[in-house]
Symmetry: C2
DNA sequence: TCCGGTGTTGGACACATTCTAACTTTGGAC
DNA sequence: GTCCAAAGTTAGAATGTGTCCAACACCGGA
């Protein structure tokens, strides 16, 4: 399914600007910031403005095509992986890696009196070992 | 142990500004942002500058008296609880609550090939039920 | 008392993000 | 095709968080 179809299916009018953003952000396995998206999209759509990138990213988040993650200091990153998973943050490079949901088991979240949990993830920080 | 002793023991010269910051930030069970600390400390120390608040908070973090947490969008919050624990973020109010380490069990983090985990926490998001 | 080091200050700066007001494009209605 | 209103886009201004910097204040020791 290409980007046009994805947007249309979500009820988003597929303008060239939105397509450029969606193609970049839904394709890769990265966790880009809004500014990284802006920089990348300028190659294919040089007149696009920052505001449109922010607007489009928010739109994609609201329609559930993208998730917003608070993982790096000072910036918001976006995650195209929509199924539940955990995150590993490399403390040296700031890079964020997805950790499959099945790789970790969390017990006890349903027994927290007073808290209605909508979302849960394990955030790991450390160093990525060289291969 | 009062704030003067705490700072002295950490090898920090206890100036009035640092005491004001330390007294506020080490006392409460809140997770304040730097700006909230600044606002609060101005009541007891009206001439303090933003720079000193940031400098002092960083100093306290470096000396291990405080932890920096990336939990809210766009801002860094500080946490006086130094032992390992998890966090619950209220999606409506943005308030952050500590979840005791023993309340949740996480398995599998030591079997992640390629990742050397230094720190781990579960981040829960949802709504706090009224009591 | 003088001096060097440490700490503080306020303002300038940098960056991420949102807002605004004007402009462009689109999809009908005629 | 022409017109219009709605939707989308744009550049730049504004806001908010955090850092940097140069000048000043304070303290302890010679």
């Amino acid at each position: 399914m290409n980007a046009i179809e994805v947007l249309a299916q979500a009820g988003i009018r597929p303008t060239p600007q939105r397509l450029a953003v969606a193609e970049f952000v839904l394709a890769g396995r990265t966790h880009p910031t809004a500014d990284e998206v802006f920089a990348a999209v300028q190659h294919t759509c040089p007149t696009i403005s920052r505001a449109t990138v922010y607007n489009t990213l928010r739109l994609l988040v609201n329609k559930g095509l993208l998730r917003e993650q608070v993982l790096r200091e000072g910036v918001t990153v976006f995650d195209a992986e929509r199924t539940a998973h955990h995150h590993f943050v490399d403390e040296e490079t700031g890079q964020i890696h997805d950790v499959p949901w099945e790789a970790l088991k969390v017990y006890g979240a349903d027994q927290l009196g007073g808290f209605e949990v909508h979302d849960l993830q394990v955030v790991l920080r450390g160093r990525r070992r060289r291969a």
